[in-house]
Structures are given as structure tokens and as C-alpha cells.
Amino acid sequence: MRPLILALAGATLLICLAFLLVSGRNGAGPAGKEMAMSVGEVLGGNASAGFSRAVAPRPFHFPEDHGPHPGFRNEWWYFTGNLQGADGQRFGYQLTFFRVSLLPQAVQRTSRWTANEIFMAHFALTDVRGKRFRFAQRYSRAALGLAGAGGRPLSVWLEDWAARETEAQPWSMKLAASDDGMSIDLDLQSLTPEILNGEGGLSRKSGTPGNASYYYSLPRMRTSGTIRSGKDTFRVSGFSWLDREWSTSALEANQVGWDWFALQLDDGRDLMFYRLRRSDGSVDPFSAGTLVTADGRSIGLRREDVRLEVKSWWNSPASRSRYPAEWRLRIPSENLDLQIVPRLENQELLTSFRYWEGAVAVSSNAGVVGGSGYLEMTGY
């Protein structure tokens, strides 16, 4: 779920900010709350006319569905991961590719710059020991080979940031991205089959039909490779999480933000849960998640299955926003009681759409189980 609103915001921001940005790198966007509002307003119209919509469950076919779905307006490939160096340094990374269609059908024109799709990508690296969080943002049209998604083997790329298929069985990809002071070069190999979230992959965002996405995850991908933080290069290994989602969704006006958890537990279980927050402070009933057991079964989670508490807060010096810092997450039916702590307080992305996304450490209150994960918080 989490990237959905982000991408919608991203799409709108492409429009609002492409010309306005002071700098493509770190132009601070408007406050998330206001953005979420304006996103709702902007996309509330019939801008989606002509696009396919996620209305009913559909059969998924892999590896085809790893590739793009051009009939839908938004789609993304969302990689996050927790990695460790040889002598125990911890790193977190995020590499996300967003695809946004401008029109339902491609246009026929002579210029090779003709594009019906825009790509946006975010790249972030958390250096826990070095206490550095770096992030970068890029935009490009899907034309002239500057950005795109597709092909067999699959490639998703924006300029020199890329995710490329290296093996179909088990599904494996190579991620490469570099920017000022950071780079990654990682090999990912899926350890689980594709996990379909929601109703067989149909993830409803609200009561409005069609306000839903197709959503699957590869929650555990064994990862190894090198990263560069500052001037230092490290050999690293760990686990990554890939979220794939496509939709032509509109945001409900009263949905203002969300908290999204993707946790890989040491006992082999993987947990995804998102909590959607409404403007009146309540939790949206469409908040949901999926728990994958160590033997690969997935269990759907509804709002009432999960209890979330904010244990402490962090004030961002850059945006002056207050984000939750420590969380307690309980799933009584699964006998889970988790303590979730950011590995670094400041993992706020001051991109055109401001949000907090970063590596977290997971520990069990009972001390039975630990783990790692990624947390995303928007609308603060």
C-alpha cells in the first residue's frame, strides 16, 4: 500500500514541480499533509478516464507480471533492504522506481523524445555506524533509452540507476545506483514465491470500487554485493524486500497519511502491515497486511488484527515535523509482540514529496524473536 499514495503524490508533483523545483536533488516539497490533500483534490477528477483499474482479483503470471502494466496509470518497483558488512557494520538501502502514465494509450509521433510515461526514482542509503543518511531523487521521461521498464530479461531503469533481471528461477535481480557519496551494486535472489497481498493480489484502498491496486511482494530476497558510503566501499550481505504494485487509484479525501511496516523476522516469518490514517485521527478500516509464515503460508491481516502504539517521537530539524520514533506492534492471534526502533533517527527524505523511510531493528518484547525491516511514515 505505502507507495501507492507516494506515487500518486509523485505523479502530481511531477506536474507541479517539474518546472518549479529549485533543485531536482533536494528541493523541499510542501508539507505532506497539504500535499496529500492537494493530491486528493487534483486526482479527484476524471483524470483516470481510459486507464485500466483494479476492480476484481486477477490471475498473476510470473515472470510476466514482474514487468510493466502500461494500461494502469501508476506502477512501482520498490526495493528496500537491511545489509551487514564483514565486521558487522549495518546498512539500509532503498531503491524505488515509479512509472506514471500520462495517457492511457501511447501517442504516435516522429520524435524519439515522445513519451507517454514518466519515471521517478528514489535512492537512499543508511550508514548506521557512520550515522549518515543520504538520499537522491531523479526524474525522466521514458524515451530515448533514458528510462523505462520491460524486456526479457526484465530491466527497469532511470538513467544509470537500474534493476535488471539476472535469473528467472529463482527470480533474481541486480541493482545498481550511484549518486553523490553513495552507490550500491547488489545481487538479489528471491527465497520465497511471490506473495499476493489483499484478496489474491487485489488490495483495496477504500470503499470506492476501482480504488484498489494489484499488489504482490517478494519479502525475502537474499542480497549480496558492494555498497559505497562516502569514500568507503563495503562488501555486504543481507535481505531485501521487493514490493510491486500497479493501479489507477484515487485517494480518498479523508486519508492523510500512513505508516507501513515490512519486517523480516529472524524466525523466518515476514510481516507487512500498513496503517492508513484519516484526517480525524482515526485509523482507516482499509488498513491491512500480510504475515508470511516460515513455511511460506500467507495470512491476511485486517485492521483489528494488529495493535500499534507509538512509544516515542522524533522531531525533524529539517522539516520541523514530528515523526513516531519507536513503535510497539502486537498481533495477539499470532502471538507477536514487537519493539520497532529506527536504526538511525534521521531517515527523512526531503524529496519533492517529503516522507520518512528507513531501516529499523526489530526485537521481541518477550525476547524470543528479533529481526530487521523497513518503516515508512508519511503525512506527518
Binding site: I15, A18, F19, V42, A47, L103, S111, W113, E159
Partner: protein, 847 residues
């Protein structure tokens, strides 16, 4: 107080003299400030437009004549990781509804823009970017531009672009961050790069890539890495290059206009000098009495200067107002000339330029005061008693004559030396010219005395006593007539000089066209802009026209411009029959020897201005940036060309295709087969055009059209020449009128002793006619001298063109007629008024 009152009464008694003086100042100021305004408006327009469009870019990647392949950009981004780079495709278009108005099309990639530019746009919904990127022909412009064009958002507008009629649609508005950017974007339409490529026929190519490179070693390293990724014909230049090369290209032209306008001011100064001197001389009695009463010299000096200041201020105010109006018109002329000769630009609204106004005001007031100083000195210099005597003044004046003449001769000699000094440049040329003019003018009174003494016997033989009196009158009243004559001479000579220069140039161009345009029919794509290069022809069409039954042979040509760190290099590539080549107007080099290597693309021809600007002779080597990297080609000939003062490099099409990735053709010309008439050939071409928008023009028509452009270009010179003459005319009118009015008493005495009104008229008109005639005759040598300087020094240094020098007698006759007419007209009013007044009344008048 009494002084001011005296001055006021004086002005009231001769209102016309005051008015004429004011007009003289205002004309001079108007011409100077108008030219200044036009020059600055044009300069500002292209500088600001160039800078706004360049944005924060520090460097630019520029390519060969047809731009850069777009893959270079991808390579920079993907291989080179240079994300502070943005592709640009630019060109121009003209709205069909507003012919002659040109807009710059700037095609950008919005996603690459943020580090470079901030033409922000008020996107209120996702529709703007979507249609900008997906709807062909979508553009953004300023709201005021849209209003001028009468279109609203989402409406379409038919335009002429790249030789075709297309529709563009207004997808949204530009919101410039500040007022300067707003000015710079006045004639700009921004669109997506895909739209620009399609509209301008530049699919696959980019005009340039803008870069933001940090300063220092890191930046140097980046530039090196970028250069390594570029094809041979592309290079990186600093971003400021364009604005400064546009400036350099037009500097000579603008400087020439300024010099012409200063000439007008100079004539205006004579006028003021004249008026002030007259007002002093006429009041010599009054001034003498005031001095005798105890008024100090300082006070008299202040009075004269105060009067001059008043005239100066009034004239300047009026002149600035006129200058603003005139400036609008001149701006149009200057813009058109720059469009014809240099590059496409548009001056949207005439900005209010305080600089030009302040300069005009200062010049007007200071010039007036400076011109009044001699008169003020004259009034205060002499002892009170002497001031009262008119003859003292004349005597002193005549004593000064040899001195002035010697000074003049010295000044002319200095001017001559300045002109001979090669390194003086354009400014040196004009300084020499002005020194010549002033020196000549200083010597004029002495020459007048000599000449009048020479013609006096003739006058007395022809017209008897009246004639003799008229001739003597000229000499006796030399303090006035000398200056008036000098002013008239200067103005008329300027007219002659400029006239001869333009005439010679016109003749030169005509002769050149004869040898340059040899084919019978010319074809190019219909082009509604006034730029020098034309949109390319459809290749299928070129193929079809290559097999025309009525044509014995044909030529292909392509005119393209390449940006270099030193500015633009225009390359003309041609595939021509050898007979045509041999007929070219060679200045240096042997066509027969040049032909074989030229044909193979192993040597180039240079136009005369190019060879002068770049100091290249036949046998030297010219280095060009080609797709094979830098290539050095020998120069096998220098030819005359009057199409461009920046100069052109001419190479054969074979060579061009080898060195540049640009197979396009933008012009074809055909030679009729024996037995086929030009009209038949043109009709045949027209029939095969197949609905394409083409310009098909016969040799004769093309020559005529070229001459029309020539005349259009020099329209501005003509206007300035006429303005100078008007200033001079007013000058002589006021001087002679003043002189005659002053002589009212003397003339009354003549009436009293028995002269009939007709005889008085004879004396006055004889005198003024003699002055007119002298001025006319004296202006001839100066005019011819000026023409020589303009042709052989100023023009050669400014534009690099060799011109034929031919003195058209019509200009000389015109000059004499003009000055005699002006002089006669000036005599009529005082003569008539004297004739009307009874001698007794005139005699009674004290003064």
C-alpha cells in the same frame, strides 16, 4: 533681475529665432536619443533573451551545422552520469496572423530543467504537463504574449515554421521569476523537446546541451570527461559565448548608427552656436550699456549661459519626447536590418531605458552650453565701449580667421593620420572622420572670404550695385555667415558622403549579384521568417527535381551555421557546375586552379569579410570542427560576398557531406536547357512542386528581391541622412533670418536712400543665395572626402566589404540645389518683412 527681464524681452521680440533654436536642439537630441534607444533596445532584446534562455547554464555543448545527435545526450546521462545537463532544441516561428513577427521556439525536457532554468509554469492540473508532452504542437508562453496573439488556453494558432504551416496550441502559461526574465521571454515559446523537434524538422537532433559545471578543478575534470564523450563536430563552449557573439556581430552596425546620429547632433550644435552668437551680437548695445552701468562680466556670462540653458532644457525635453517616438520607428528598422543581416530576433515592447534618456538629456544640455560659451565669452571679453561697436566684433572675427583656418588644417591632418592608422578600428575611423569634418568646418570662414572676394567682381558685373552689396554683405557679416555656412556645409556634405557611399555599395552589390547568381531559376522552401538560412527541402522533392527535363544542369546548396567559441561560422555548401564556379567573383585566387580541390572537398573558399576577420589569405589553412574531429583545409580563394559581414566559408557539397552529418539541402538552382525559356523552366518546377510550399524565383526576380532587401537595410541610413539635412536646413534658416532681422536698421537706411523693396529683396536674397551657393560648392569636396573615408576606412573596418567608389553627379547637383534653396527660403521672410515696414519706422527703432 533686470538681466532676466532683458533676456525675456529679447526672446519675445524674436520668437521665431528662439523657436528655431529650440527646434535645432531638439532635433539633434531626438536623433541621438532615438538611435541610442533603438540600438539599446535591440541589444537588450537579444542579450536578455539569450541569457534568460541560457538560464544558469555555465557551458553548452554545441555541434556541427545541423546540431548534435540526440544520442550524445543519452550518452552524457547514462554513461557520463552528468545529471546537471539539459537538452535544448531551438528555432523560430511566425504566427500567420502576424507576419513579420518572429518567436523563438525553445524546446526543453522539463525533467532535465530544474538545475538549469526556472521558466516556472502555473500548472494547476496535470493536464498542462500531459498535453505539453503528449499533444503535438503544445506550447507555453507569457500571458501577455497570448493576449497579443489573441489566443486563450487550449486554443490553437496557425504558424509558419520550418517552411510549413502548422498549428500550435497554448497548453499553459510561463511564469517568469522576475521582470528581467519576463522581458527575455516576451518573444519566446517554450515547448517539449519532442514538439520542438517535430515543428522545426529537427527529429533526432539537438540544438545544444546546457550544462552546469562547477568552477575549479572538479569542473575542469568534468568538462574533460564530457568532451571525451562528444563526437568530432561537437564541442563545449562557455555559456556566455552566445550573448557576446550576438553582441559582437551587430556591434559594427550599431556603432555606425551611433556615429550618424552624432553627426546630427553636431550639426545641431552649430545651430545653437549660431543662435547664441547672434543673440549676443544683436544685443551688443544693450550688453555694452549694462556693462557701463556696472553689471559685472560674470553676470553677463551667467545671463548668456542661463539663456542657453533654458533653450537647451526646452529643446532637450522636446527632443527626448520626439526621440521616444522616433525611437520606436527606428527600433523597427534596426530590428529588421539585424534580422536581414545577422540573426532572427524580435523586440517585443520598447522598454523605457533611462540610460538612453539621461544620455540624450546630458548631451543636449551640455552641447547647448558648449555652443553658447564662445558667444558668452565674446559678450564679456571686450571692454564695455568696444562691445557697443559692431565693427569691432567683425574686425576681431576676421583677425581670428587665419587662426581658425590653420587650426582646421591641423585638425584635418590629425584626422588623416588617425585614418591611416590601421589599428584604430571602427572608433578610430569615425574619430578621423569627425576630425576631418570639424577641421574642414573651421577653415570654412576663411575660404568664404577668399571666395567672396573672388566672385565679387562677377556679382557686380552681373547684378550691378545690388550684387556688389550682396557680396560685400556676406563678408562684412562674417561673424554670422561664417558659422551658418559651416553648418550648412557640414550637413550637406554628410548627405553627399552617405549618399555616395550607399550608391557605390548598391552598385557593388548589383555587380556582385551578376556574377554570383548565374542560374536561371532558384528554388527553396517557402520561408516566412526573415532569417538568412532557410528550412531544408524535402529529400524526395530534391530527388524529383534532379531529373527535370527542362533543366540542363542544377546546383544544390545548404547554408548552415556552426557555433564556435569565437562565435558563429556560417558554412555554405554547394554542388555547382564548373562553369558557375569559374564565374564566381574571386577577389584573390585563381578559379581554374581552385576548382579541382574545391570540388573534391579538399579546399574551401572564404568570403572577403571572413578572410579579413580571421586574417586568412589564399594558401592559409582553415581549421573546422567536423565529425572527423578538427580538420584543417587550405583556402583556395577569397570571393566577394555582401550577404554577411561575419563572413562565410564555402565548401563543395562533397566535402560538406564528408565532414558533417547533414545531408539536407535548402536550396536548388536550375540552368535552362537551350531552347527552354526561364519562364517555361519555372512553370515546369512549379508544376512538379506537388503542393509543397516552395519559393520558386527566377534569376531576375531574385536579383530584384535582393536589391529590395538592400534598400530596406539602408532605409535607416537614408532616414538619418534626411534628419541631418533637416537639422541643417533649420540651422541655415535660423542663421540667415537672424542675420537679416539684425540688419533691419541698415536695410531701412537703404530703403531711405532710395532702394525699392524689390531691390532690398535683391540685396538680401543675393546675399543668402551666395551663402547657399558657397555652402553647396564647399560641401562637395568634404562630401566626397567623407564618402572616401566611409567606403575605404569605416565600412571596410566595420563590415569587411570592398566597395566600388563612384561619384554620382546627381548627389552633387542635389547638394547645391538643396543649399541654395534653403538659403533663398531663409532670405524671403526678412526681405518680406523689411519690404512691409516703412523705413521711417524701422529707423526709429532703437536696435
Amino acid at each position: 533681475m533686470i538681466l532676466w527681464r532683458a533676456g525675456y524681452r529679447n526672446a519675445l521680440r524674436h520668437p521665431w529665432l528662439t523657436v528655431l533654436a529650440v527646434i535645432g536642439v531638439s532635433l539633434g537630441v531626438a536623433v541621438v536619443s532615438a538611435v541610442d534607444l533603438a540600438n539599446r533596445a535591440a541589444e537588450r532584446a537579444f542579450m536578455i533573451a539569450a541569457e534568460t534562455v541560457a538560464g544558469r547554464a555555465t557551458h553548452q555543448v554545441v555541434g556541427g551545422p545541423s546540431g548534435i545527435p540526440e544520442d550524445v545526450y543519452r550518452r552524457l546521462r547514462l554513461t557520463g552520469h552528468f545529471d546537471n545537463s539539459a537538452p535544448v532544441v531551438t528555432g523560430s516561428l511566425q504566427p500567420v496572423a502576424k507576419p513579420g513577427t518572429t518567436f523563438q521556439v525553445v524546446g526543453i525536457d522539463p525533467f532535465a530543467e530544474p538545475p538549469i532554468r526556472s521558466f516556472s509554469s502555473n500548472f494547476t492540473d496535470r493536464g498542462t504537463l500531459t498535453s505539453l508532452m503528449t499533444t503535438p504542437g503544445s506550447v507555453l508562453m507569457l500571458p501577455e504574449t497570448a493576449e497579443e496573439l489573441g489566443i486563450k488556453r487550449w486554443q490553437s494558432l496557425p504558424v509558419e515554421v520550418a517552411g510549413a504551416r502548422r498549428d500550435i496550441a497554448l497548453a499553459g502559461y510561463l511564469a517568469p521569476p522576475d521582470q528581467v526574465a519576463r522581458l527575455g521571454l516576451g518573444s519566446v515559446m517554450v515547448c517539449d523537446i519532442s514538439t520542438a523537434q517535430e515543428l522545426l524538422g529537427m527529429t533526432g537532433r539537438l540544438s545544444r546541451i546546457d550544462l552546469v559545471v562547477p568552477e575549479g578543478a572538479a569542473g575542469e575534470q568534468q568538462l574533460k570527461e564530457i568532451s571525451a564523450l562528444l563526437p568530432g563536430d561537437a564541442t563545449v563552449i562557455p555559456a556566455g559565448t552566445r550573448a557576446s557573439s550576438l553582441d559582437r556581430m551587430t556591434r559594427a552596425f550599431r556603432l555606425n548608427l551611433t556615429a550618424l546620429s552624432l553627426l546630427a547632433l553636431m550639426v545641431g550644435m552649430f545651430l545653437i552656436y549660431n543662435t547664441m552668437t547672434f543673440s549676443v551680437v544683436r544685443r551688443r548695445r544693450l550688453i555694452g550699456m549694462l556693462r557701463a552701468l556696472g553689471v559685472s562680466r560674470r553676470e553677463i556670462f551667467a545671463m548668456i549661459c542661463g539663456e542657453a540653458l533654458l533653450i537647451g532644457v526646452a529643446g532637450t525635453a522636446l527632443g527626448l519626447a520626439c526621440g521616444k517616438l522616433l525611437g520606436g520607428e527606428l527600433t523597427r528598422l534596426v530590428t529588421r536590418t539585424i534580422n536581414d543581416l545577422y540573426f532572427v530576433m524580435e523586440v517585443g515592447r520598447l522598454p523605457l531605458l533611462p540610460g538612453a534618456l539621461v544620455k540624450g538629456a546630458l548631451l543636449g544640455i551640455v552641447a547647448t552650453l558648449a555652443a553658447a560659451v564662445p558667444a558668452a565669452l565674446e559678450a564679456t571679453g571686450a571692454p564695455p565701449r568696444a562691445v557697443l561697436s559692431r565693427s569691432v566684433i567683425e574686425a576681431r572675427h576676421r583677425k581670428l580667421l587665419p587662426l581658425a583656418a590653420c587650426g582646421g588644417v591641423l585638425l584635418m591632418a590629425a584626422g588623416g593620420l588617425l585614418l591611416l592608422y590601421e589599428g584604430g578600428g571602427i572608433v578610430g575611423g569615425f574619430a578621423g572622420l569627425f576630425a576631418m569634418i570639424i577641421g574642414y568646418a573651421m577653415a570654412i570662414p576663411a575660404v568664404v572670404v577668399l571666395l567672396v572676394n573672388g566672385v565679387r567682381p562677377l556679382f557686380s558685373a552681373l547684378f550691378g550695385v545690388i550684387g556688389k552689396m550682396a557680396a560685400r554683405g556676406v563678408v562684412v557679416s562674417l561673424s554670422r555667415t561664417g558659422v551658418a555656412t559651416a553648418a550648412l556645409v557640414v550637413a550637406v556634405a554628410a548627405g553627399i558622403g552617405v549618399g555616395i557611399m550607399v550608391g557605390g555599395f548598391r552598385l557593388t552589390v548589383q555587380t556582385w549579384l551578376e556574377s554570383w547568381l548565374q542560374a536561371d531559376v532558384y528554388l527553396r522552401s517557402a520561408d516566412f521568417g526573415s532569417g538568412r538560412s532557410h528550412p531544408p527541402l524535402d529529400p524526395a522533392l530534391v530527388e524529383r527535381f534532379s531529373r527535370l527535363p527542362g533543366a540542363g544542369s542544377f546546383s544544390l546548396s545548404r547554408r548552415a551555421s556552426m557555433e564556435t567559441p569565437e562565435g558563429f561560422t556560417e558554412i555554405l555548401s554547394m554542388e555547382v557546375p564548373s562553369t558557375t564556379f569559374l564565374g564566381y567573383p574571386f577577389k584573390k585566387g585563381d578559379p581554374r586552379r581552385a576548382w579541382p580541390s574545391f570540388q573534391r572537398g579538399e579546399s574551401v573558399l572564404l568570403s572577403e569579410p571572413y578572410s579579413l576577420r580571421h586574417h586568412l589569405k589564399v594558401g592559409d589553412r582553415l581549421t573546422l570542427r567536423t565529425r572527423q574531429g578538427a580538420v584543417s583545409l587550405p583556402v583556395s580563394g577569397i570571393i566577394y560576398d555582401y550577404g554577411s559581414d561575419t563572413g562565410i566559408v564555402i565548401m563543395s557539397r562533397t566535402g560538406y557531406l564528408k565532414y558533417f552529418d547533414d545531408p539536407k539541402v535548402d536550396g536548388m538552382s536550375f540552368y535552362a536547357r537551350p531552347g527552354v525559356s526561364t519562364a517555361q523552366l519555372a512553370a515546369e518546377i512549379r508544376a512538379r512542386g506537388g503542393g509543397q510550399r516552395l519559393t520558386i524565383i527566377t534569376n531576375k526576380e531574385l536579383k530584384k528581391a535582393t536589391m529590395t532587401i538592400f534598400d530596406r537595410t539602408f532605409a535607416i541610413t537614408g532616414v538619418l541622412r534626411i534628419l541631418t539635412l533637416v537639422v541643417a536646413f533649420v540651422g541655415i534658416l535660423s542663421a540667415l533670418m537672424a542675420m537679416q532681422v539684425e540688419r533691419a536698421r541698415e536695410l531701412a537706411v537703404l530703403r531711405a536712400v532710395g532702394l525699392t523693396p524689390l531691390q532690398v529683396l535683391g540685396v538680401i536674397c543675393g546675399e543668402t543665395a551666395l551663402i547657399g551657393l558657397l555652402a553647396g560648392v564647399l560641401s562637395l569636396p568634404l562630401g566626397i572626402l567623407e564618402a572616401l573615408i566611409l567606403v575605404f576606412v569605416v565600412n571596410l573596418r566595420s563590415f569587411g566589404w570592398t566597395m566600388q567608389f563612384q561619384v554620382d553627379p546627381a548627389y552633387l547637383v542635389e547638394a547645391i540645389l538643396l543649399s541654395v534653396t534653403a538659403a533663398l527660403l531663409a532670405g524671403l521672410y526678412p526681405a518680406a518683412s523689411i519690404a512691409r515696414t516703412s523705413p521711417a519706422l524701422a529707423l526709429k527703432e532703437d536696435e
